[in-house]
Amino acid sequence: MIIQKEQDVVPFRNRVKEYAVKIGMSLVNQTKLITAASELVRNMLKYGNGGNTVIEVVSKGRENGIRLSFIDKGPGIKDVELAMKDGYSTGRSLGLGLPGAKRLVSEFDIKSAVGKGTTVTIIKWKNG
């Protein structure tokens, strides 16, 4: 799903919710996943000028989960470690987006190359 403007965020969140409901994720975990997704999609819009998102159902053994990927071709992040720190922001925000999103999901992966873009992948297991 391509995200290019603010108004794309709400339909994207709804789509994530549909997937989460489909695999029977609890309400609390759904809320955590959608909140994390909302943070990451905002980052993608704000710093990466929008990009693409992928929603997938994944499984590990008996456990089902949702994997979300956020792919942008923006300027990339110079210091990923610093960007993952609580309270650090190059914009005028609270700096909770990346570290907060990481706390809300089961697995979090970020790859970024300056000048090429950033890809963030998260997984929330149904019971995790």
Partner: protein
Amino acid sequence: MDRIPVLQMGKFLLVTIQVDLYDRLALNLESDLVQMVSKTGARGVLIDISALSIVDSFMGRIIGNIGNMSKIMDAETVVVGMQPAVAITLVELGLELKGVSTALNVVKGMELLHKKIGSFEDTIEEEEHDDSSTD
């Protein structure tokens, strides 16, 4: 342009957020509310977020901003109806809603606003009373 309606009820402003907020809508609400506080001289702002299924760091910041801005404009802000899952998520995200009081539902929120503003007005009345007795 999309807007969230702000209702006036006596000394209070009432906002019920019934749609999923995107950023522009939240920013509009912030400026609308502060302007309404100034225009109406409202003493309290009640924000009902019971229909919000998520509150992320941006929305949290806007709610905090509304609280702080209203405070400067001499109005109290109470946020009511937060869903349990939203509260759990907010804390894990690392967001404290500084400067805003919360209540479980609209009725309790109204009571809280009355208490906050009422007690303040009582003290003024008492002071005035004291003044007249010393005269």
